[in-house]
């Protein structure tokens, strides 16, 4: 400011925009503080966001519907499912017309109805649902038939090494290795959140792979195909890991969700 030869400053800030003639040290950097404060809050919120989110989520749990419906569930931090569809909407499949085709490298290809699935032994799980993008819904109740019971009906041949899943949306695909498919926490699910699986959540029947990120749990399950080598699924072709273990996939080493 020493190189400035300007008009003699008026005596005070009055009559000048914002009192611009006031020396810089008397001006209040509130604008800059606001800007930097917001950046700081954003950084703190990102680093300590999980406990914050947990706290907000439980505070909102009395009003927010975890299925994602209603206005309260739209509040940031509410524990609710984000409903994804990769096609133009949610495919509607009536329960009485639902069919699950099981084929590929099996001794007995078959088609199961909704009722057939209900007649298989019922398994219930209560687990947190963890999306790879960060959101999670704590303590979701699931019920359905174990995938391994469905596979046993079809009797995979000795050549079968993996399982591919198709969806009624006609686009979505997923897969598991045979060993993963035989786990006791992998369901062909017909109930979630304490009721039948809704259309928006992938009903009437969807896959639920408890130990893996949400993209494994294919919605609107239409087919199960035993294969020698699995083709990567829909999101996996976009770069996500085929082995989607919560805690040790997608370049991350997280504490697995209990």
């Amino acid at each position: 400011m020493n190189d400035v030869t300007g008009p003699v400053p008026r005596s005070d800030g009055e009559g000048r925009p914002g009192g611009l003639l006031v020396p810089a040290e008397h001006r209040s950097p509130v604008g800059r503080r606001l800007f930097l404060g917001i950046l700081g809050a954003g950084a703190v919120g990102t680093i300590f966001g999980q406990p914050l989110q947990t706290w907000v989520g439980s505070a909102l749990s009395t009003v927010a519907d975890p299925s994602g419906g209603g206005l309260a569930a739209l509040l940031p931090g509410a524990d609710r499912f984000r409903l994804y569809t990769v096609t133009g909407g949610f495919p509607e499949v009536a329960r009485d017309r639902y069919r699950l085709r099981v084929g590929g490298l099996v001794a007995r290809p078959l088609t199961l109805s909704y009722g057939d699935l209900l007649r298989l032994p019922r398994t219930q799980l209560t687990r947190d649902f963890q999306c790879v993008t960060g959101w999670r819904v704590p303590g979701v109740h699931w019920a359905g038939a174990l995938l391994r019971d469905v596979l046993a009906l079809a009797q995979p041949t000795s050549a079968a090494r993996a399982v591919e899943f198709g969806s009624y949306d006609g686009v979505y695909t997923e897969s598991l290795t045979l060993a993963e498919a035989y786990r006791s926490d992998v369901l062909v699910a017909y109930e979630m959140l304490g009721g039948p699986v809704s259309t928006a959540h992938g009903g009437p029947v969807r896959l639920y792979v408890a130990p893996m990120y949400g993209y494994k749990s294919a919605k609107w399950l239409s087919s199960i195909t035993l294969v020698e080598r699995a083709t990567p699924g829909f999101w996996e072709q976009q770069g996500y890991d085929v082995q989607a273990w919560v805690g040790s996939s997608n370049g991350r080493h997280d504490t697995p969700v209990p």
Partner: protein, 266 residues
Amino acid sequence: MAATTRRSPDARGARAPEGPGHPVAEPVRALRRRTTAAQGRLLRFDATERLVHWVTATVVVSLAVTGAALYVPSFGALVGHRLVVEDLHVWAGVAVFLPLLAGAAGPWGRRLRHDLRQVRDLGPAEMDWLRSLGRRGRSALGKFNPGQKLNTNALAGILTVLFATGLLLRWGNFLPVSARTGATFVHDVAAFLLVGLVTAHVGLALAHPKALRSMLLGWVPADWARRHAPAWRAEELSPGGPQRGPADAADEGRHQRPGPHRCRPG
């Protein structure tokens, strides 16, 4: 450095008589300024500023629409095609600051850069205006009132937070899941704040049609400025043209490399 302007690129020619000025251009510019003033109009936003505003507004609205499709279940079900919507949202987000950067980068951005420098801090009279909720200190109101200044900073902060957390959500696979949960939460909260601020901004613009028109056509009536920006008006219409004080010059000195090019008219 006397009688240097801090407004339109035109008026910038009215810089330092003792510097390598423009002896011919100066009278022309002074004349043009007085002519505009005689018509009772003051240039509030030049073409660059208007273009940057409307391009950015379009990008932000498309971000809000695609963001809503990713966030609101019923709307997302209606739109579907998550992969496409996600790509649109991500690339619109990556581009959100480009109009501003492009607008401020070159000689066409002098006025924009100047206006941006204006909003960083408040003088004592402006603080007084703010503390008295507009009852005192009206005569000190410059081109931007303290509310507009704070709003600009809040918008800039929130947009930056959305930009940064958005990058983390899309390309932050290296982060632990807790940070991704945090980034999701912060992104959602910031989006709500942004929608609130922009809604208030649009509401105030509709309530002040002459201010809104200046973002379309550039000028405001001098009478409008008498009520809403008296100090700015007085400065624009002062006989010697707009003047700059030492504080302002010091501000500029912090942001522009001192040296001969400071005296080179734009």
